[in-house]
Subunit: 337 residues, 2 copies
């Protein structure tokens, strides 16, 4: 699968942009990326999937480009994603990610804010590596713009996500607007930048951006479902935490919209409580089951998966990376529970 094919080159470039910088700040970033433990000793990677850089490089190949040339941009989107995770953990008060203590839970929130800020800045520096790969300065500036715009949309989505926590009137349309920013924008941006670095064909670049948008929506919807019904050992998140934090994830939004009578009252009462306890959690799950919220989420995710696949059907893409893009898209939606 494409994940493995690019992995070592992505990792090497990531390590090189963080190398030779000495402040303890960089230890925090290396810890977050899963390279070292709290004491700075190297560990065997519990790194993420590198979904965004992989999609970026696949898009570059699919349009006929040389993927090696796009590696600096792939690393930049991975760094942008990780800066957002470090800040997200602070904002959500999450003490655990990928089965490890979060950066802030070790170094405190003030320094974790710095680590995220630094990672975002290094993403910009990483982009400048495109010069060594012969990408024209004009194209680089356009790629910068795409990444800034995607990053800004992502932050807008993060704003909405937090603002929804204290609201009970969120409907599916609001939810989709939020995840389109929070998650889909950076995935769409990754595919768009990859295509841009490999091609000048505007229609294909737009088509792959749109593929990324649909894929991003499907991805976040499945993530929401896995957050409720997924295996804690696989998701790396404590079970039930999305509900306890009052996250307006799709199954909940759907239930708030669909529930009637006693179930609706019960759901609202639970969500208006200061603390959602284990008994409440069971009650919420019973309501979600009664409304078949899991099947609903899977249906919507498949709808966006289908739109993603349908959207690239007519594009003139290289056969092998096209298959890999399709395979990645299916993987995202069909990850096991």
């Amino acid at each position: 699968m494409a994940f493995e094919r690019y992995r070592s080159e992505i990792d090497a470039e990531l390590r090189s942009v963080l190398a030779e910088r000495e402040s303890p700040l960089y230890e925090m970033m290396r810890y977050h990326l899963g390279w070292v433990d709290e004491q700075g000793h190297p560990v065997q990677g519990s790194a993420g999937k590198a979904l965004r850089p992989t999609l970026l490089l696949l898009a570059c190949e699919a349009v006929g480009g040389t993927w090696h040339k796009a590696v600096p941009a792939a690393v930049a989107v991975e760094l942008v994603h990780n800066f957002s995770l470090i800040h997200d953990d602070i904002q959500d008060d999450d003490r655990e990610r990928r089965h490890r203590p979060t950066v802030w839970s070790i170094w405190g929130k003030p320094q974790a804010i710095n680590a995220g800020d630094a990672l975002a800045t290094i993403a910009g520096l990483a982009m400048l590596g495109l010069t060594q790969h012969g990408i024209s300065a004009e194209k680089q500036l356009r790629a910068h713009r795409l990444i800034y715009e995607a990053c800004l949309r992502m932050i807008e989505g993060q704003y909405l996500d937090i603002s929804y926590e204290s609201r009970f009137d969120i409907v599916v349309g609001d939810y989709l607007q939020m995840i389109e920013r929070k998650t889909a924008a950076l995935i769409a941006g990754s595919l768009e930048v990859g295509a841009l670095l490999g091609s000048n064909a505007e229609a294909i670049i737009r088509g792959l951006s749109n593929f990324g948008r649909n894929l991003g929506l499907a991805f976040q919807i499945m993530d929401d479902a896995l957050g409720i019904w997924g295996d804690e050992r696989k998701t790396g998140k404590p079970w039930g935490s999305d509900i306890q934090r009052k996250k307006k994830s799709l199954p909940i939004v759907y239930a708030l919209e669909k529930a009637e009578g006693k179930a609706k009252t019960e759901l609202l009462n639970i969500y208006k409580k200061e603390v959602i306890d284990d008994q409440d959690l069971d009650a919420v799950l019973r309501i979600l089951d009664a409304l078949q919220a899991q099947a609903y989420a899977q249906r919507i995710a498949h709808k966006y998966l289908d739109e993603a696949l349908e959207g690239i059907r007519g594009l003139p893409l290289a056969p092998s990376p096209r298959s890999e893009l399709e395979e990645m898209a299916r993987f995202v939606v069909e990850r096991d529970f």
Copy 2:
């Protein structure tokens, strides 16, 4: 003075990069910049001095460039500075800045983190406005690198500043390393970018960067002194807050290094307390006075001012902006208490 000459164009460009963006996130940024109140109603500006953009534009003029062309970069450094202030207030738990409640104290820390992140991202977008002014793509990329590097140094300095709070072994050398990053890097970067956008003469660009470094050091040292002995109405910071937060500002670092016997013990005991009360504050001020720490800080600030002025003496700069640069440098150090 140069502040006024550029002001309206800087403001217009700042407003334009934040215009037509609708999320409440942008209200937070506009509030921070002093354009609107908490409810989003326009207010008469309590905006900052715009020191960094002014220096950037002066550097551009001084090397013979057209300052209008550099306005997008001037706006970018102002946004980088302001992103750092929003996050700094969160990290320091400061409820007030420029006589107004800080962003986090109104909207909460999670959303204030987003506002800072968004402002940093918009700084990158603002830079791209240089294209409309005919700056070559190659030069733009170089300007991007300078700003990213300055921003990264600034964050490293912020890391050190926070890490020093719990330490009592900080000496003047450590302090200078910290402020060189936290404050001087972005001021040096501003002058360097301004010069770069107006000239291709590497020696002059380097010379102005070095002027900025010395000026930045002098500026921070005076800021530290004003934080202790300045007029609260002018500094906009609650009096004594630097001491109560155990900031290792220059007068304190000097006192920790110079104090002997009873005074040293008293100072250390106060700094090791959980909370520094008003009586402690008086005791600290007495110790600082006995050691003539204020005169020391002014002496060191003047040393860096002299180095800054000496460093540009031999550079071939346009006479009028040269005088303004010198005037700005003196203003920074001779601000009244």
